[in-house]
Symmetry: C2
Subunit: 306 residues, 2 copies
C-alpha cells in the first residue's frame, strides 16, 4: 500500500566503500525514514549487486513509510560522469565505466538522478549548509583521501567528473606518495596521511588524525605533522582562491571535526599567501555526514522540478 502524501518524496542513496545508506526525504528535506546495508564485496558483478542492494533499500523505505517514492538520488565515489550516468573509474569500488545510474533506474523503475559523493555533498553545503548565501563556493573534503567540489555562480561544476581532483598536486612537503610522485596534497593533508605520517615519524600507531590533533600542544611530532597538513591546505586554497575567487571555502570530511585546531592555522597561513586576491570566508562544514544524503535528495528533487 503506497500513498502520495502531498509533495514529492525522493530516496537518497549514498554508496560508500563499506555501507550503502538510504533515506526517504520529502520536499522540505525532512528525512522520514532511513535504511542501510553493507556494500557488496568487490568482484566482477559488484556494480549490479550494488544496484540490487540500492533498489532493495528504496523498496524498504517505501514499505516502511507507506509513501510513494517519486525519484531516486544516487551518489557514488570515484570519477563520476554525472551527465552520462557512469562511474568512469573508482579505485575504492574497483569500477571502470560502470553505468550505475541506469542499473539503479532499471531496478527501481524510477527516474534516477546521479552524482559524485563529494560534489553532491558540496552542493548540499552550498544550498543548505555552511556556504548558504554564497554566490560561489569550494567544498574541500579531507578524509581518507581528499577532493574538492565547486559550485560556481550557483552551478555545480563537474568537469566531466574530473573537477576538484586535487589529491596529486605538489604542495611542497617532501613526502612520497602512492602515485610515485612526491609532496602530493593527499599524501600530506588528508586525515589518513596525518595519522600515517605521525606513526612513520614516531613509531607509535594512532587511530586517526583526531588522535594526532589531541597531541598538538604536547607532542612536537604531532605539531610538525599537523603543520605540514595545514601548509598543504593553505597552498591548495591559495591557488584555488586566486583562480576562482570563491566567496566561501567549506572544509569538510573527517578532518574538519578538528574545528578551530585546523581552521585557525589554515586561515592564518592562507592570509599570508594572498595579496591582491579576494580572501574567502573559511568555515567548517555544517551538515556533517548528512551532506551526502541531503545532496542526493537535492539532485532528485531538482530533476523532478525539471
Amino acid at each position: 500500500m503506497t500513498q502520495r502524501s502531498g509533495g514529492a518524496n525522493v530516496a537518497a542513496v549514498d554508496v560508500g566503500g563499506t555501507q550503502i545508506k538510504a533515506a526517504l526525504v520529502d520536499e522540505d528535506l525532512t528525512v522520514t525514514a532511513e535504511r542501510r546495508c553493507s556494500t557488496p564485496v568487490a568482484g566482477p558483478d559488484r556494480a549490479r549487486e550494488v544496484a540490487d542492494a540500492a533498489a532493495r533499500l528504496v523498496a524498504e523505505l517505501a514499505d516502511a513509510t507507506g509513501r510513494r517514492v517519486d525519484a531516486v538520488g544516487l551518489v557514488v565515489p570515484g570519477i563520476v560522469d554525472a551527465e552520462r550516468g557512469v562511474v568512469v573509474r573508482s579505485g575504492s569500488m574497483g569500477w571502470r565505466e560502470e553505468p550505475l545510474r541506469d542499473l539503479v533506474a532499471e531496478r527501481t523503475g524510477l527516474p534516477t538522478a546521479f552524482g559524485h559523493d563529494v560534489r553532491t555533498a558540496g552542493l548540499a553545503e552550498y544550498r543548505l549548509g555552511a556556504a548558504a548565501g554564497s554566490r560561489s563556493a569550494m567544498f574541500l573534503a579531507l578524509g581518507t583521501g581528499l577532493a574538492a567540489a565547486l559550485v560556481l555562480d550557483g552551478r555545480l561544476f563537474e568537469g566531466g567528473g574530473f573537477a576538484g581532483e586535487l589529491g596529486h598536486v605538489d604542495v611542497g612537503v617532501p613526502e612520497p606518495c602512492r602515485c610515485d610522485m612526491s609532496g602530493c596534497f593527499e599524501a600530506v593533508s588528508s586525515a589518513a596521511a596525518i595519522a600515517r605520517r605521525y606513526t612513520a615519524r614516531t613509531g607509535r600507531p594512532v587511530d586517526g588524525a583526531a588522535e594526532v590533533a589531541a597531541l598538538l600542544e604536547t607532542d612536537p611530532d604531532a605539531a610538525a605533522v599537523w603543520a605540514d597538513a595545514v601548509h598543504g591546505i593553505a597552498v591548495a586554497l591559495a591557488w584555488s582562491v586566486s583562480l576562482l575567487a570563491v566567496d566561501t571555502v567549506v572544509i569538510g570530511g573527517g578532518l574538519s571535526l578538528a574545528g578551530p585546531k585546523l581552521l585557525e592555522p589554515v586561515e592564518k597561513e592562507l592570509a599570508g599567501l594572498l595579496t591582491f586576491q579576494r580572501s574567502p570566508t573559511l568555515v567548517a562544514a555544517a551538515l556533517g555526514d548528512r551532506a551526502g544524503c541531503l545532496g542526493a535528495a537535492l539532485l532528485a528533487l531538482d530533476a523532478l522540478a525539471g
Copy 2:
C-alpha cells in the same frame, strides 16, 4: 546619414594603457572599419576622458561606414566587475570604482556591454579561436603581467572580477616580487619578468622576452631564466587543470609568440606533474591581438541577442 545594412553592427572598444582601439563589427564578425587614438593621460578625470574618447571613436566608425551602430562592446584592464559595469581597481589606469560602462553608455546613447580585456579575449579564443569546440577552457595571457580567463561549460566565469588573478601565487622559484612576497607567478613567468630576470642575471639589457627566446640555444643564462618561466607556467597549470579539468589551455599574450619554444617544454613539464588528472590540450592563441576586439564584439552581439 546612417543606414541599417541587414544585420546588427556593433562597435568593439578595447581600452589599453597606451591606446584605445575601436572596430565596427557586423553579425558575421567581419571588421568593417577600425579607428584608434591615444589613451588620455592619467589624472582624476581619466575615466570620463576615456569615455569621451571611446564615444568619439564610435561616432567616427558610424560616419566612416554610413552604418548604424546598434551597441557597444567595451573592454578594459584591471579588476572588472562586469555585472555592475565597474572597474573595481586598475593599477595601470589608476582607477578605483569607476563606472566605465555607464560613462560610455551615456555618451553614446547605445546599449553597452562591458568586460575585462583578458577574460573577453579568452571568450573570443573559446568561441572563435584556439579553444573552439572545447567544453571548458582556460586562457592564460602572459604579457607585461599575467592573468587567466576561464570559460566553464560555455560560460565565462568572472568571480566578481577576481577570477584568474594568478599573478601572485608562489611557483617555487626564489624571486622577489613587487608585492613583497617571493616566487610569484608573475615575477617569474610573465614576458616582462623574463626580460627583467635575464638582465639582472647578465647585466645585458634586452628589448623583451623574444630576445631571450632567441638566445636559448647558445646562452645558458637565457636558458635558465626561460626554464624558470616554464616551470612557473607548468605549476600554475597543474593546479588549474587538477581543479577544473578544462579540455583546452590556450596560451596567449606576447610570450605566446615564442610558439613551440614555450609550449613544448611547458607541455613536457606539465605531463610530469599530472598523474590521475585529465590532461588538457595545450595550444597557442589563434586570434593574436584581434582577440580583445572580437571578444568585445561578441559581448555586444550577445547582449543584442538578449
